[in-house]
Symmetry: C2
Subunit: 227 residues, 2 copies
DNA sequence: GTCTATAATGAGATAGAC
DNA sequence: GTCTATCTCATTATAGAC
């Protein structure tokens, strides 16, 4: 909840992190890498360099710690996604938005944070990918996934306006495919590096984006001409 | 390893499963749903209706049980994927294969098994999706993911022959996007059901496939015209 | 091959001193 | 806010009776 707290005017380049931040950073990294059940509180506090008991003291039980990890960045992230969407819409003036611009606006804030947001954001995005690909059989994951539904729905609405001739359900299919590709790309498993023998680098999201925009835009156009 | 074993001529419709099969079935289902670390041996044996000690007796430690779950179906599945690929190539005669046929051949054996292969196959495919989206920070996942590299590479080669004007690395990007969508679709998280307010059903892979073929074929064509 | 019983370890959580 | 020590419980794994 309260993140910066007192923070008595120390400069931003000072590496002194509060205990809460150290725990959140470590939890974020390890949850992203091995999943919720693959990490213990002991591993988190050890990786953070703090005492075991402090995790429970500051954040309560493990599920609550997980929720705090998500809550720390969720609002800022979804807010920026909406900004990119508004910019893509505004760039088209009074006309319908450009499909290419919408595809780019959907991917770019995520890719940008992964590549240039620092390690914390990179881990957070990977954690998003991990949970987005997980069935919510355990309830505490549900609010996290549902948090991004409004963003997806706003993009879907914009796609519908950009393709008025396209049947609405086909727009949903197309957005579904786009979401899927993004979720998989963000996992950065490295499979594509092996399969392409180095021709494609899973961590070079700039190069990936330049292929995604024409690729998925063409897909949208192809579905627009179908009943 | 030895799956059918003695199997003294009892009919195929008999529901009597061996203890090993009961354990493998339960492990397959629970691993697919909650991941490797999210499931205990106790839950698996309880779900299978057998004694706790039998899991270790038949399969050794937990990681070995996981490997057996994968090994049971991996060869048959990758073999069928290759068959679909060969059929798509053969259908084109002496000419280059059709992009649409290749996209279909890439998706169809997976979707078919998920929808019509019975619950065991459905769980296995979901487990594949889960591990395909997981970084191999724990070594025992690596052989599982690498097992499907030859299949992906064979499809990629066919796509390259179908699009001789396309730069090879762009074919790899396109296959990467296609893989990603498939992995996400197979997870069946239900997010698309919420987001589309019921217009799209995540479990209806027949309807999904009919949109995927034109969508991704158009993407391939779009990338073919780029340097 | 199966089951009971138990060992050995690691887990999440907390009380209480500082 | 921090750390030591501990409680309680669940986990994997196995020994030994049947």
């Amino acid at each position: 909840m309260e993140m910066a707290e007192i923070d008595e005017g120390r400069p931003a380049d000072e590496p002194k992190l509060s205990t809460k931040e150290k725990i959140l950073d470590a939890a974020e990294e390890l949850f992203a890498e091995r999943g919720y059940y693959g990490v213990s509180i002991r591993q988190i506090t050890q990786h953070a360099g703090v005492d075991l008991a402090l995790a429970n003291y500051h954040f309560g039980p493990k599920e609550e710690l997980f929720r705090h990890v998500i809550a720390r960045r969720a609002e800022e992230h979804s807010h920026r996604q909406m900004e990119y969407l508004q910019n893509a819409i505004a760039a088209a003036g009074d006309g319908p938005p450009s499909i290419e611009a919408l595809v780019r606006a959907f991917c770019e804030p995520i890719f940008d944070r992964t590549m240039r947001g620092g390690p914390g954001w990179k881990h957070y995005i990977q954690l998003l990918s991990h949970t987005a690909n997980t069935k919510q059989s355990h309830g505490f994951l549900a609010p996290m996934n549902e948090r991004y539904d409004p963003v997806v729905e706003a993009f879907t609405d914009a796609f519908k306006r950009a393709l008025p001739a396209c049947a609405p359900h086909n727009v949903h299919y197309a957005v579904y495919f786009l979401q899927g590709a993004i979720v998989y790309l963000l996992a950065e498993t490295g499979a594509i590096n092996r399969q392409s023998h180095g021709l494609v680098d899973a961590s070079d999201f700039d190069a990936i984006l330049e292929r995604m925009v024409p690729f998925f835009a063409a897909g949208f156009y192809a579905l627009a001409g179908r009943p």
